[in-house]
């Protein structure tokens, strides 16, 4: 990379999803910090809605109805088969006494045999509602990231969504709601308060489902005593370990179990409507563990769902949480090993502002350490694919063009391998196999462009006047436009940020 810092390029790549090839690098260079803050100043910049994007309740409703319809179909088929079998037996029995019936029975048998040998080609099953919703949500998210001027707000959304991740691979409900979860629990708060996001996330049906809390029952609750059901501490543990305090910050197994107790009853209202609007948060007093419960040395008296809300608010305020979040935030945007002074400063900003995420974000933008000339981070597959589409000015019409390659590169959209989300370090993404897959992807993208642009022009748009000599030579020396584009996409300027 060039030795002198190209601040416009840094603004767009380190904080956003990369240049779009429209001259913004030069514009950003005149006031890079102002350029970033201007995007965040737009009202509702992180919100996303659309006619094809249902609320969580509507998504769960579509899923539930479809499941019921499928079950009915299966039941009817089973009944039909039982009737056919009975008729065949009846005819066969009659055939023993009358040759006429024997003929009918034989004809039926022949028909059945023919059917077995050549089953009628059933039409391909239409996609399920949860698949359709997932695709619409994915497309809306991708298009937003590709179209945004900087993409800083979208990077923040991706960061927090990965921090509080749920996975569509959990099952149908998760697949149907993973997109609305992000729109309802993450996006409204990325420039708001951490505590608001924490409560919104932990009470959201998608999270209650993903980490099994909707099924957790207080052992001494009405249902617990009657049905001998009990706790599931999955959500309680991950809140302590991954969402708020961070692992190894001093809490105990008892704290984990007690937070799980406090959160019993936090569930999802069912389809019959007696628990409120189906598919929304429902506090089930019958499964909630009664009595006061201690957490991290403080006693929370019994008070319905408020008990859990107060516990979460306290977790959000703790100094361990400030340190954990500040460190992860700096690592995600600046460096795999962020400067300790930067982490220290962000910790104070987070703590002193009461978890104000706009203040945290602005402090990052204002930090000198965040503008170091050498790009320290490796782009994740998602960041790389979005950046590629931005540079090529390509807005996907259907999400498979992006979902497929993401799966291939080991970063399937909204399907992290565990509740800790995807890694954000070079060690995870700059692997031999990962680089080979990126090469194959770039080759395919470049070779499929119908009217490939001049790669040297694109390089100029990417880097302004300052690409590295090596990348410039490689792109100029390419034997075809396609090869030049693939080289450009594989260049360190595109792979790193």
């Amino acid at each position: 990379m060039a030795a002198t810092a190209n601040l416009g390029l840094i603004a767009l790549t380190r904080f956003g999803y990369g240049p779009r090839g429209d001259g913004d690098v030069a514009i950003a260079a005149s006031d890079p910090r102002g350029f970033l803050k201007a995007e965040l100043a737009q009202p509702g910049i992180a919100l996303l809605s659309g006619a094809t994007l249902p609320t969580t309740a509507a998504a769960i409703d579509q899923f539930t109805r479809d499941q019921a319809a499928r079950k009915l179909e299966r039941d009817q088929l089973a009944t039909q088969q039982a009737e056919d079998l009975a008729r065949g037996k009846q005819l066969a029995a009659l055939g023993a006494v009358s040759p006429v019936f024997a003929k009918v029975a034989a004809a039926d048998a022949a028909k059945a045999a023919a059917l077995l040998a050549n089953p009628p080609k059933s039409a391909p099953k239409p996609p399920s509602p949860e698949q359709l919703i997932f695709r619409d949500e994915a497309l809306a998210r991708l298009r937003r990231a590709i179209e945004a001027r900087v993409g800083f707000a979208e990077r923040l959304v991706a960061f927090w969504s990965n921090h509080f991740c749920v996975s569509a691979n959990k099952g149908g409900i998760a697949r149907a709601t993973v997109g609305s979860f992000e729109r309802e629990a993450i996006r409204p708060h990325v420039l708001g308060r951490f505590s608001d996001m924490l409560v919104a996330v932990e009470s959201h049906p998608a999270m209650l489902h993903f980490l099994d809390n909707a099924q957790s029952v207080g052992p001494n609750s009405k249902v617990g005593l009657k049905a001998h059901k009990g706790l599931n501490e999955n959500l309680g543990r991950e809140i302590m370990e991954l969402h708020a305090l961070g692992v190894g910050s001093g809490y105990t197994q008892t704290d984990v179990t007690n937070l799980a107790r406090i959160l019993t009853g936090w569930s999802i209202s069912n389809a019959n409507g007696k628990e409120g609007v189906p598919g929304t948060f429902f506090f089930n007093a019958a499964t909630h563990e009664p009595g006061p419960i201690q957490l991290l040395g403080k006693t929370y008296p019994e008070d319905g769902a408020t008990q859990g809300q107060l516990a979460l608010l306290d977790l959000a305020r703790r100094p361990e949480t400030a340190r954990f979040i500040a460190g992860k935030f700096a690592r995600a945007f600046v460096s795999d090993q962020p400067p300790p002074a930067l982490v220290e400063r962000l910790t104070h900003v987070f703590h002193d502002s009461g978890g104000d995420l706009r203040a945290l974000t602005f402090a990052l933008v204002d930090a000198a350490e965040a503008w170091d000339a050498a790009p320290a981070k490796m782009r994740s597959p998602y960041e790389f694919i979005v950046a590629t589409n931005r540079l090529l000015g390509h807005l996907p019409e259907e999400p498979g063009q992006v979902i497929g390659p993401l799966n291939l590169m080991g970063m399937g959209l909204w399907t992290p391998p565990g509740p800790n989300g995807f890694a954000d370090t070079a060690a995870a993404w700059a692997s031999p196999e990962g680089m080979k897959l990126r090469l194959d992807y770039c080759s395919q993208v470049a070779s499929r462009l119908r009217d490939p642009p001049n790669p040297s022009d694109l390089l100029e748009a990417l880097c302004g006047a300052k690409p590295s000599q090596q990348t410039r030579d490689a792109v100029r020396g390419a034997e075809s436009r396609q090869q030049g584009l693939a080289l450009l996409l594989m260049s360190p300027e595109m792979q790193r940020r």
Binding site: N232, G248, A430, S431, E433, G434, K436, Q470, E479, Q483
Partner: protein, 414 residues
Amino acid sequence: MLLPHPSRRALFHPSRRALVSGGSALFGAAFIPKIASAAGARDPRLVVIILRGALDGLASVGPVGDPDYVGLHGPLALQFDGAHPGLPLDGFFALNPGMPVFARMYREKSALVVHATATNYRERSHFDGQDVLESGMPGPGFTESGWLNRAIAALPQGDRVGRLGGLAIGAATPLVLRGAAPVVGWAPEVIPTASDELARRVLALYEDSDPLLARAMSQGLQVDRIAARDMGADRRDKGGPGSPAGMRQAAQGAARLIAADDGPRVAALAFEGWDTHAGEGGATGRLMQLLGGLDGAFDAFQTGLGAKWADTAIIAITEFGRTAKVNGTVGTDHGTGTVAFLAGGAIKGGRVVADWPGLKEAQLFEKRDLAATTDLRAVLKGLLADQFGLSPAVLGESVFPGTIGVRPMQGLIA
């Protein structure tokens, strides 16, 4: 040359520099005359499978003979009889019925189970637990290198195992195999391969500007060539590391690559999906299917390694076990003691190695988990000592630092 085809030579030429400096395995092998394998000496191989998510050892290998087992593990408990009987290992333990291949290997005395085992980690965070399991360090927070990589690096200069390095299966290298010793990676392929010419140019660009990317790229390309040579159409992705088909396929790929004379002798794989908090299933259901995937992987290794199976040891390990008692959602929460599965022609099998702690409340760890009576690191050290001849001092200082007191387990290798 490893690959005499002209276009491939062109591809490989620039990477040779990276190899000399970065120390890559497959390529270096081409310059070493094959003497070692000719003399009929052992040619040991070691495969480590990480089961991410914490495997329920009590539903994988059930202590059916323990009077408290069925009461605690409830519907997840295995039994010797009933509609879905476990596969009897001895009069006390039954194997989950999802693992018939492992049961056969056990009967043939080339598989064994270590039970009531765990690392020294006693908290219950997956990620910290995996860090300790894979880094081999005394506590979490160390993710620079893994014990398997350091074992390779600790071998004397010129040793075949050290020279050929490690093989990482999947899009990312598992921590256990990360570090200074050379490692190559491979994952099933789902899109067409870029041309050799483009690959050569990208590599040349990185060598001039970005050493880290250059090293990763050159290694990725080499492994892909070997896979293309040896595997043809079997390279397409079948479902990933959390699916039974994906587990078998990963093992097939690994087996072919480490069976090659110029292939690595050490491999690491990671399978996912073992975090069974709800609807775990016991002798039937989700856990049984996942164990079927692991079983398929053992099968694929035996088939794919052919004659090389005789000197191979495979071990499947997990970060910790799960609660002895079933939770409120017919699953289990994070626990402590669990099992390790060992298989391979080199394993002195046909037995369950366990100092059984019992399942009475007072015998459980913190009144909730199967206690760990065997240090898993002793098992791992035993394998490394007997397969590769690493000394207790090296194992206790550089491979598993600070564990001189944990003696390598003897007699795991036949």
